[in-house]
């Protein structure tokens, strides 16, 4: 059995680590590329959301590379994700591929099923052993997420452009081979010292922007056009509403992101009083929280036809008005081009910068410089509200 799984940000690091521990043979699909997308599109239903299409492409490329078992998460709704695996199986079988599929359904569908599936993924291991493997796996996944969170926040402050991105790569390389709990702790410290060693100018008045939206789009750089790295390079400090280990973990605490599901729901309540699947509720809640914390703006990313975040998009203009915080929504599908996205993004950043400038005039603070490394100053003529 050669198992494979779709890409989603750093999930390949987390899963390959787990399978190394359980002793399962696996194939990591080629990094998601234009080819992946095109393969996925060939077989996908037109109105499926982008994550289904891209991950279908991952599966096809992995099958080409010799995988024979596909691993996919399941779910109990109400967002489509929970039925993805079934539909992908149906599509690929019809296209003539031969494979087995393991669907990891959440315990909400029954503990027995859940544990049986885990046993399949960890042949010959006892429940206790599996439990320990998962625990250590989580520890590592969290360490990786912590690094990412740090990079998102501090890339904007690096003195030499590109340093942080390079350091991040190095840090990941250090953490990858860590096996035992002690090794993970040690590697984490070492990795952090590399990130902290990047020369920064913390006095620089950077814009602070929150990124919210659908989890796959937030986590997978191919799908979001590497927007975070781009913004960081522009000199914008970021915080994000979803991290991989928070998303996988059944706990509602969100250790990495730092705000519990309950707090997020509480913040969203005046605008959205019920969860609607996916990240619909968190998208609204986080916007409120970012606004209260004084962020300069919020960027909302989600796939076309995504139901939960379409609901959020309908509600966000009201939040934006009430809290006077610019929010821009990007609806992404296979036709979205990077150039168009960047143009809109730049206009949005200009707007944020001019708002900050106005505010700092009132408070006699520093002016903000966007992209100080290139010496590009901001055009301040943008008076349009940041509503898309």
């Amino acid at each position: 059995m050669k198992v494979t799984f779709p890409h989603m940000g750093t999930i390949d690091l987390v899963l390959s680590d787990l399978f190394d521990r359980t002793g399962l043979e696996y194939i990591i699909p080629p990094r998601t590329s234009e080819r992946t997308l095109q393969l996925g599109l060939r077989y996908s239903p037109e109105f499926a959301c982008l994550p289904l299409k891209i991950t279908l492409g991952n599966f096809i490329e992995a099958l080409e590379a010799g995988a024979d078992t596909l691993l996919m998460a399941g779910g109990v709704g109400p967002c489509r994700f929970g039925y993805y695996a079934e539909v992908q199986k149906c599509i690929l079988k019809e296209a003539g591929y031969d494979f087995d599929m393991i669907i990891l359904e959440p315990p909400a569908m029954g503990w027995k099923l859940f544990i049986d599936t885990l046993r399949l993924l960890a042949p010959g291991k006892s429940i206790r052993q599996i439990w320990r493997i998962i625990k250590t796996g989580f520890r590592k996944a969290r360490a990786i997420d912590e690094l990412e969170k740090y990079v998102l926040k501090y890339r904007a402050y690096e003195v030499k452009r590109g340093d942080m991105t390079k350091a991040y790569k190095k840090a990941l390389e250090i953490i990858k081979p860590a096996i035992t709990d002690e090794e993970i702790t040690e590697a984490r410290e070492e990795a952090f010292s590399i990130l902290e060693g990047v020369e920064k100018d913390l006095g620089r008045p950077c814009l602070k922007v929150g990124i919210i939206g659908e989890f796959y789009l937030l986590l997978e750089p191919f799908a979001n056009f590497g927007i975070e790295e781009y913004l960081g390079n522009m000199g914008i400090s970021l915080e994000r509403s979803v991290y991989l280990s928070d998303w996988i973990s059944p706990s509602s605490k969100n250790l990495i992101m730092g705000i519990s599901d309950q707090e997020v729901a509480q913040a969203a309540r005046p605008y959205l009083n019920h969860f609607v699947g996916g990240e619909g509720l968190p998208s609204v809640g986080h916007t409120v929280i970012y606004a209260k914390e004084g962020f300069d703006g919020v960027i909302h990313l989600f796939p076309f036809t995504c139901m939960p975040d379409t609901i959020a998009k309908s509600i966000l203009p009201k939040v934006s008005r009430d809290y006077d915080i610019p929010v821009i929504s990007f609806v992404i599908d296979e036709q979205t081009g990077r150039a168009g996205l960047i143009t809109r993004l730049e206009a949005f950043i200009d707007l944020l910068a001019s708002r900050r400038k106005q505010k700092s005039k009132l408070h006699k603070e520093h002016d903000v410089l966007v992209n100080p490394r290139f010496g590009v100053d901001v055009t301040l003529s943008n008076s349009e509200r940041g509503l898309a």
Partner: protein, 318 residues
């Protein structure tokens, strides 16, 4: 004078109007139903809605606008789940919030929560909670609800006997339905039964000598049973009914063809379409045609496609 409460003639109206109407009336309010969907309603809804929303929700917004100056409140329940272990559509879970966030002045939104996932007790608690604003008497609320339930049962009986929701609600005579060909219309009830959305498909089919079957004419037990043939239980109730009906027709060949009406940008429809088309291919018993509808669907194009489908079915029958 009684307060007037508006009920939009859209979305779940087609499923639950008799229940809602009776329940609210028994609680002592007057009911105003919005006008049937028109171009004006569609336009006012579309102009308020985010572009990415599905057409049925946009149209729902139009019905809110249609009601807003005529009523004291509008009834927009949050229908989370109608049977254990399933959901409705995410948009129904957030519907009252979507309504409130519209950039227009609306009357008060009445949004009781219907959620069967939480068990009977919590379900009724939320009904009492809602009823409290009309009467202090729990007994009266209970009676109103039970009256609603029996109205709903009577309604479903009429549907089973072949009335369309519009006919059953208006207590009209059931239009004749015996052509030489029979087509099953699969899809969400608001797509199948709102004549504006589907460009009057039911009437047209009947005019062309085609009789029409819909999911409402199939007993729920059968729908349930058929939908259970999917490898994984679908967690959306209404989609289970859509799949159940289509599978039923494919299996017992009680129709000559199936037209599946789906909304552009509807999440559920995008997946259901795969399941239905794959089943149709496997069984090769009953031809299936998918008809995608959005605000730009042109009548001419649709008629051509449906006519071609019917011609094909008649050829097969020869």
């Amino acid at each position: 004078m009684n307060a007037t409460v508006g009920i939009p003639q859209a979305l779940l109206f087609y499923k639950y109007y008799p229940l809602w109407e009776t329940f609210l009336k028994e609680l002592g309010v007057d009911i105003v139903v919005s006008n049937p969907t028109t171009k004006k309603i569609v336009n006012s809804g579309t102009s308020l809605a985010e572009n990415e929303l599905c057409l049925p929700v946009k149209i729902f917004f139009g019905h809110l606008v249609d009601l807003k100056d005529r009523v004291d409140a509008i009834f927009v329940p949050r229908v989370v789940s109608v049977e254990r272990g399933t959901y409705t559509c995410p948009k129904f879970l957030g519907l009252p919030d979507l309504a409130r966030s519209l950039d227009t002045q609306l009357p008060k939104i009445l949004d009781p929560v219907f959620n069967s996932r939480l068990g009977r007790k919590r379900f009724y608690e939320s009904i009492f909670d809602f009823g409290k604003q009309f009467t202090k008497s729990k007994f009266r609320i209970w009676r109103a609800w039970m009256a609603g339930v029996s109205a709903q049962k009577a309604y479903q009986k009429k549907l089973l006997a072949g009335a369309t929701p519009i006919e059953a609600i208006a207590d009209e005579q059931v239009s004749t339905n015996n052509g030489d060909l029979k087509i099953g219309l699969a899809g969400h009830p608001y797509n199948v039964h709102d004549p504006y959305i589907n460009l009057n498909l039911i009437k047209k089919l009947k005019k062309w000598g085609v009789s029409v079957a819909t999911e409402e004419m199939i007993p729920p037990k059968i729908l349930e049973h058929e939908a259970n043939r999917l490898p994984k239980r679908l967690f959306w109730s209404y989609e289970r009914e859509v799949v159940g009906a289509a599978f039923h027709w494919m299996r017992n060949k009680s129709v000559d063809g199936i037209i599946y009406i789906l909304s552009f940008a509807c999440g559920q429809d995008s997946l259901i379409q795969v399941l239905l088309e794959s089943e149709a291919k496997k069984r090769k018993s009953v031809p299936l045609m998918s008809l995608v509808i959005d605000e730009h669907s042109g009548e001419a194009g649709m008629i051509t496609r449906v006519e071609a489908f019917i011609d094909m079915l008649r050829w097969r029958a020869v």
